[in-house]
Symmetry: C2
Subunit: 124 residues, 2 copies
DNA sequence: GATGTTTTCTACGTGCCGTAGAATTCTACG
DNA sequence: CGTAGAATTCTACGGCACGTAGAAAACATC
């Protein structure tokens, strides 16, 4: 019933996606767990089964794909973080009736540098 | 523990915010309930206490303020929907390390009309 | 085929949210 | 005032998403 928007990631799910996105190649669950420990401040370290459960859920949600032929299964993201975030932005933008008004507020809050960047992108 | 981002609204909470945002003046819970029924397709109609509970939660979350002096209490939004959505967009944008790359994807997906709109906004 | 590894299954605890009755407080009106 | 009706607060339950992970099953390897 809940209009399943894409904005549905928990804390650990997001942390795992971040590791996958930062990786240069598909990762095995164990490696991923290592990276997770490295990037986590408190050194918290979930059980390997926990990581796999979340990975399965992320796969079900379409965020990652896994190579089931490889022997530890290898996981990779279905889209880049940038594409994902851009998509989220559009999704959020779409939730307003007056898109133009939202854009006005939006550009009113970007940094000068980003404004310049946007100008260049738009002229390209 | 969960890094409470602003992106936390349930289905009913959002529906209620939409009614409040569409309203031209502060609303009483009963009126709000009416509007809710009107805008809902299935004619689903939550109990008045349900509406009030959610309203209280929205107040706690800082999304609405209520006039406690008025006799039915009157509720209104703390910010416009456009400001809210723009804020969300920035929040989402901030979740990426490479903001420029995100912006590139983002502008690559806006409609021509919106691109034009953005150009004008940036030059203002 | 026994052993270590990897994966799947199953399941619990917690917190958010929709839901709303019960109890309480408040306002008018007679 | 006293009381009825209206409004507000309190309390609470059920469902679902997530973090969590053990138990069990499937695999690979020697």
């Amino acid at each position: 019933m809940a209009t399943r928007t894409v904005v549905n990631l928990g804390e650990l799910e997001r942390a795992i996606m971040d590791v996958i996105w930062d990786a240069t190649a598909p990762l095995a669950a164990t490696d991923l767990r290592e990276q997770l420990k490295a990037s986590a401040p408190g050194g918290k370290e979930p059980a390997i089964t926990t990581v796999m459960t979340v990975l399965s859920r992320l796969e079900a949600k379409g965020f990652v794909v896994r190579d089931r032929d490889a022997r530890p299964h290898l996981y990779s993201a279905t889209m880049t973080r940038e594409d994902h975030v851009a998509e989220l932005m559009h999704e959020v933008l779409g939730s307003a009736s007056d898109r133009d008004a939202v854009l006005a507020r939006f550009v009113g809050q970007v940094t000068p540098h980003e404004a310049e960047r946007l100008r260049r992108l738009l002229d390209a």
